[in-house]
């Protein structure tokens, strides 16, 4: 390589670093501001207010919102809802993915087509009939089952697991079958251990959805004691916040409590958010 091209690539690298760094700061700033705002005694929206000042720091906002919506109960509800969805997604997804990838059975093609079709239809179209069925006909409003039911199957997860199982060598399964292993044993002892990292990724990705989901639990839960945190916080924003002393402070305190579990989980497990996994997830 000539000297000019190395010099060029040097400026490029610096430029790239500056652009990426500035972008990252722009992306992270609202999170920083969320924490700062949640700790301010009186909201300070001036430029100086973006920096913490010791005489304007308080935890009163957290107490204020906790007195109006039970943050702990909200977190528990979010946890049960999310846990139920993740469990169903993984169990049903692994079983269906295994059946579609490894087993030969009549109806496999039709099932696969169905999986693709489910992915195409947006949830919003099903929202009204699901509300009529689950809330009105089955009487499952204000009920964990009613919250979880529409998300119990996740076609993307089925496609991901199918993709992972397809990548396993067939000889492995043939050999184990010859040794007399049943399909359930094969799935548990041979297939699952091999795709374990993929399952971790799937669990993490599935976790984000229901934890952050607003529309469906909002429709189905009217009882404040049953609402996931996202719903009770949203109701607080639309109904209650205006009547409190520091509305922004308390809303942001709630936002920090809602965001923290996922952000921490994401940072701890960020190496599982491998681009290739997610890529295959969406491409099927």
């Amino acid at each position: 390589m000539s000297r000019t091209s190395t010099k060029l690539s040097r400026t490029q690298t610096v430029l790239r670093g500056v652009v990426l760094g500035a972008g990252a700061i722009l992306f992270l700033f609202p999170f920083y501001y969320m924490v700062i705002g949640s700790l301010q005694l009186t909201p300070d929206t001036s430029v100086a207010g973006a920096f913490p000042s010791p005489d304007n720091i308080t935890t009163a906002n957290y107490e204020a919102i906790n007195s109006r919506i039970n943050l702990f109960a909200g977190l528990i509800n979010s946890g049960i809802f999310t846990g139920g969805v993740v469990l169903c997604t993984v169990v049903f997804g692994v079983l269906a993915g295994y059946a579609l990838a490894i087993l030969k059975w009549r109806g496999r093609g039709v099932t696969f087509a169905l999986v693709l079709l489910v992915q195409v239809v947006p949830f919003q179209l099903l929202m009204i009939p699901l509300y009529v069925l689950i809330a009105r006909n089955y009487g499952l409003s204000d009920n964990y089952l009613g919250m979880i039911l529409p998300f119990a199957i996740n076609s993307t997860a089925v496609l991901v697991f199918r993709q992972y199982f397809l990548q396993l060598p067939r000889e492995l399964f043939d050999a184990a079958r010859i040794d007399g292993a049943g399909e359930l044993t094969l799935l548990r002892r041979v297939a699952l251990p091999l795709v374990r990292p993929a399952i971790v990724t799937a669990v993490l990705l599935t976790f984000i959805g229901p934890w952050n989901e607003f529309l469906w639990p909002f429709l189905i839960t009217k009882d404040a004691a049953m609402q996931p945190l996202a719903v009770s916080l949203a109701n607080y924003v639309t109904n209650v916040a205006a009547s409190t002393a520091n509305p922004y402070g308390s809303v942001l305190a709630g936002a920090v409590v809602l965001a923290a579990p996922v952000v921490i989980l994401f940072i701890v497990f960020q190496r599982y958010f491998v681009s290739t996994d997610v890529g295959s997830a969406v491409k099927g």
Partner: protein
């Protein structure tokens, strides 16, 4: 590796391994079930939970939505029979002549015109840059992904604070601050929502592009640089065509997500305000269908919206992805 070789292997080898009962049964069972259920009927058992749920929470509601859209459907207590008359296409006519619905479709159009190009351009550029970066790779990746993993409801809280009348953004802009402020300004409410969604979702699309970039052969970059192409030239001649499949996906997904907007207009602009300037079709489905009790109208709106989105997505696929293959 076809099934016939497996079967032959089975017959030859299993008697040697464990003679007796185990290998005597399978051929019998196979002949009984295989014609009806396939070689491995247990596949039905494994697929059954998925299939049952797909019928209960997908197929039946889908049919129900279509049914409902042709009736003057209203809510009743369980077990109570109320007359729900067939009204033909009345719901569809009502939807298509409703000024609020038409406005909401216009709003979505404004949203898509801002959000989709911004998403595609920013995510492809940032992914290409992130792909080459060596230092602080993890930090940078995490920074861009974090809005995507965080709940909209939490992020909306900060944006209300940032973009409010006396918020930080207006304080920084000083005399340039719009009046009325961002979220209560009819001309700026929808663009602000589009900006919010772009920021929130960008990490996911960067992730998709990063995956696609791994499949662009390195030799193409080398030969481009041998031919004297600079970094910008090779970005447009190698990177952009190399990730075309991902671009089609990003176009389609961002359109579908944009068309199904609900949380942001509901919370950020207080229910589609000002004066419906940021109302989305899904918000109207909620208001009419559940709040005001006209699920037939909402179902018809949902069907029209879904068909419109499918048409747009297919057009995108045809025009953005057709040339390559």
């Amino acid at each position: 590796m076809s099934s016939s070789t497996t079967r032959r292997g089975d017959r030859v080898r299993s008697p040697r391994r464990d003679p007796g009962s185990a290998d005597a049964r399978p051929p019998v069972r196979r002949s009984l079930f295989s014609r009806l259920l396939g070689v491995q009927p247990i596949g039905w058992l494994f697929g059954a939970p998925y299939l049952v749920f797909a019928i209960v929470v997908f197929a039946y509601p889908l049919v129900f939505a279509i049914y409902m859209s042709f009736f003057d459907y209203f809510f009743s207590a369980p077990g109570v029979e109320v007359d729900k008359p067939f009204v033909g296409l009345d719901n569809y006519v009502a939807v298509l002549t409703d000024p609020a619905v038409l406005q909401s479709f216009g709003n979505v159009l404004v949203f898509l015109v801002i959000n989709v190009p911004l998403t595609v351009v920013l995510s492809i550029v940032l992914a290409a840059a992130l792909n080459k970066v060596v230092h602080l790779r993890t930090f940078l990746r995490v920074s861009y992904y974090v809005p995507y993993v965080t709940a909209s409801v939490a992020l909306v809280g900060v944006w209300l604070f940032l973009f409010g009348g006396g918020g930080l953004v207006n304080n920084v802009l000083g005399p340039l601050a719009p009046d009325p402020s961002w979220l209560v300004n009819p001309a700026l409410a929808m663009p602000t929502i589009a900006l919010f969604v772009t920021w929130k979702q960008l990490g996911f699309y960067i992730l998709l592009y990063l995956a696609a970039l791994q499949n662009v052969p390195q030799e193409l970059y080398e030969s481009a640089s041998t031919d004297g192409a600079g970094p910008i030239r090779s970005f447009f001649s190698v990177t952009v065509p190399g990730v075309r499949q991902a671009t089609v996906l990003v176009l389609m997904l961002s359109t579908i997500i944009g068309a199904n907007l609900f949380t942001e207009p509901y919370l950020l602009t207080g229910g589609g305000g000002p004066n419906g300037a940021s109302a989305s079709p899904v918000l109207i489905m909620y208001q009419r269908g559940i709040q005001q009790g006209h699920p037939g109208f909402a179902a018809a709106l949902g069907i029209i919206l879904t068909i419109a989105v499918l048409i747009v997505a297919l057009l995108q696929r045809r025009f953005a992805g057709g040339r390559e293959e």
